[in-house]
């Protein structure tokens, strides 16, 4: 609101009696630039030395394309698995009371807290052909470790908390009025869930799955031990970056990194637009 009597001054900040604005903002911007922005710009600038044609040649070799397809494909399958089971786990944790509920709730965060290399060697041991679960699968002729399926298993481990932790607060605040109304109108429980509960949870479910997907695409530590890392079979894109770096092919490594980063940022951007759209419909 602007009044005609008061001259409008365009300021980039409102005055405040509190001290320390210059110091805190200055230090923040310096630190942000030094640690994040300048090094990231090196990633974007490096592939320029290849030229456009060189860049596309670099990222369209069969080995790179396969690695990118595996990283994004396996991440999508793992996110889908976590969408289903994450919804069930969140529902059970919020709606039901049962023994060890708090313990199970705390355990959901384990993939956040457990170092990825530790998860990686543990998963590789469990799903190896002679491992606890790997031997069971081997008996019915399914190869778990050292195959793309192993990649999916590791990415499922990594992604679960994203879906559960995004759903839980929404589910807790959902209230039961709408469900009660549906029940009094004669809907049975399954109809109520499909037509009333699920639409209300959908935005959080999509957000959680997208977060799990974005994390899984770049995941490295928990995957490389179980994947077996066969080129063109079970080699993920982050590993290919490491291999290129070991060959001192900086530009090639950076080119794959740029493609991954561009897709990840696009997902985050779409997610923000989606959330703004959901907010505006409320």
């Amino acid at each position: 609101m602007s009044s005609a009597a008061v001259p409008r001054i365009v300021r980039w900040r409102n005055p405040s009696v509190l001290p320390g604005f210059g110091l805190s903002l200055g230090f923040s911007l310096f630190y942000l630039s030094a640690i994040v922005l300048i090094p990231l710009s090196a990633l974007v600038l490096r592939p320029l030395s290849l030229g456009w044609a060189g860049f596309f040649a670099e990222v369209s070799t069969p080995r790179v394309v396969h690695a990118l397809e595996l990283s994004f494909g396996a991440a999508a399958i793992a996110a889908a698995i976590n969408t289903v089971f994450g919804l069930i786990v969140a529902w059970v944790l919020v709606r039901y009371k049962f023994p060890f509920r708090r313990l199970i709730d705390a355990l959901v965060d384990l993939p956040f807290a457990l170092p990825t290399a530790v998860a990686g060697i543990a998963l590789a041991t469990i799903y190896a052909p002679n491992g606890w679960l790997g031997s069971l699968f081997a008996r019915i002729g399914i190869k778990t470790a050292y195959s793309p399926l192993g990649v999916v298993l590791a990415l499922t481990f990594i992604g679960l908390p994203f879906v559960v932790r995004t759903l839980q607060p929404v589910l807790a605040e959902l209230g039961r009025d709408a469900e009660e109304a549906a029940a009094t109108l004669g809907a049975h429980r399954g109809q109520t869930f499909r037509r009333v509960v699920l639409p209300a949870l959908a935005p959080a479910l999509i957000t959680g799955s997208a977060l799990a997907f974005a994390r899984a695409v770049g995941e490295y530590g928990s995957v490389i031990f179980i994947a077996g890392n066969l080129p063109m079979v079970s080699e993920i894109a982050p590993l290919l970056i490491v291999i290129k770096l070991e060959e001192y092919d900086y530009a090639g490594a950076a080119a794959i990194g740029v493609v991954m980063l561009a897709i990840s940022f696009t997902i985050v951007l779409l997610l923000n637009i989606f959330q703004a759209w959901v907010q505006s419909r409320r």
């Binding site: 320390g20 805190s24 903002l25 230090f27 490096r46 457990l114 607060p169 109520t192 530590g221 940022f265």
Partner: protein, 290 residues
């Protein structure tokens, strides 16, 4: 209350309760999924470490290379975590206590490291400081080693743990407003005094919560550190990297013994985190956002 007879049949307290069979089935599915995907890996770590007895596991942890990996991990966390605490407090002070243009843009820039693959987080420092990087030849002439040395490991760790503290403190301090600080300043307190006596007591549990998560990630980071470390045994191997080296050498007891130390760190982090969430829920922003 079990003493009062319920008008609705047992198991159906309200019409919005699920059928008992559905309820039990869903609980079993959840517990089963979590047991197979989360608990089994955890048990495997300890079981493999103790496969040949406790003495051998202890022996593996006390190897010189293992001890130097523990030392390096502690040093890296001791540098990276305080750096990010200083940044987190400064950024949260600027963003929550002042109004300025570009504030929400700055907030979203802080989140960037969370959407970057760990391997890329290491790669960017190789592109800047590596031998063929921006400053590679200049650093070599000055005989300064950043990549394949401690500074590179610290930088990569700082990058991946960058948002933790700021992300917790910005919403927390925004919620708490500016009244208390403005009162302190108008009563004549200096800026530092206001921060130490007014702001810090208000944010201490949120800060501790963030430090806990930041530290767990700093000590456990693998991908980013792996790219910049060079895997020099006894010199640039952190604990997660040493786990990898031993595992690839088929020294499974050693690998899982170090891994079980890291798993214990994760469990302690989870217990403390749950305690903080339970005891100080109102003073931790992440609990509300969850």
């Amino acid at each position: 209350m079990s003493a009062i007879a319920s008008p609705v049949p047992r198991g159906f307290a309200t019409p919005t309760d699920d059928h008992p069979v559905v309820r039990i089935a869903l609980i079993l599915v959840s517990v089963g999924f979590i047991t197979i995907f989360l608990v089994l890996p955890l048990i495997t770590v300890f079981a493999q470490a103790l496969a040949h007895g406790f003495a051998e596991a202890c022996d593996a942890v006390l190897q010189p290379d293992a001890l130097s990996a523990v030392r390096l991990t502690l040093i890296v966390a001791a540098i990276a975590v305080p750096l990010n605490v200083a940044f987190g407090i400064a950024a949260a002070w600027a963003i929550s206590k002042f109004d300025f243009a570009g504030k929400s843009f700055l907030t979203s820039l802080i989140d960037i490291p969370f959407s970057v693959s760990p391997v890329i987080s290491g790669l960017i420092y190789v592109l800047v400081f590596g031998l063929q990087g921006w400053f590679g030849s200049a650093l070599r002439d000055m005989n300064i080693k950043i990549i394949f040395a401690l500074p590179g490991i610290v930088l990569a760790t700082t990058f991946v743990t960058f948002p933790f503290v700021a992300r917790e403190l910005i919403p927390l301090m925004t919620d708490q407003g500016r009244d208390e600080e403005e009162a302190a300043v108008s009563l004549g307190a200096s800026g530092w005094r206001t921060f130490l006596r007014v702001t810090l007591p208000n944010i201490k549990w949120g800060l501790l919560y963030a430090v806990l998560l930041c530290n767990a990630r700093a000590m456990g980071e693998f991908g980013a550190v792996s790219v910049v470390s060079g895997h020099i045994r006894g010199l640039t191997n952190t604990m997660p990297l040493h786990v990898e080296v031993l595992y690839n050498d088929y020294q499974y007891v050693g690998a899982f013994a170090i891994a079980s130390l890291l798993a214990m760190l994760a469990l302690v982090t989870l217990v403390l985190k749950s305690l903080l969430e339970w005891r100080y829920a109102d003073e931790i922003a992440a609990v509300h956002r969850h």
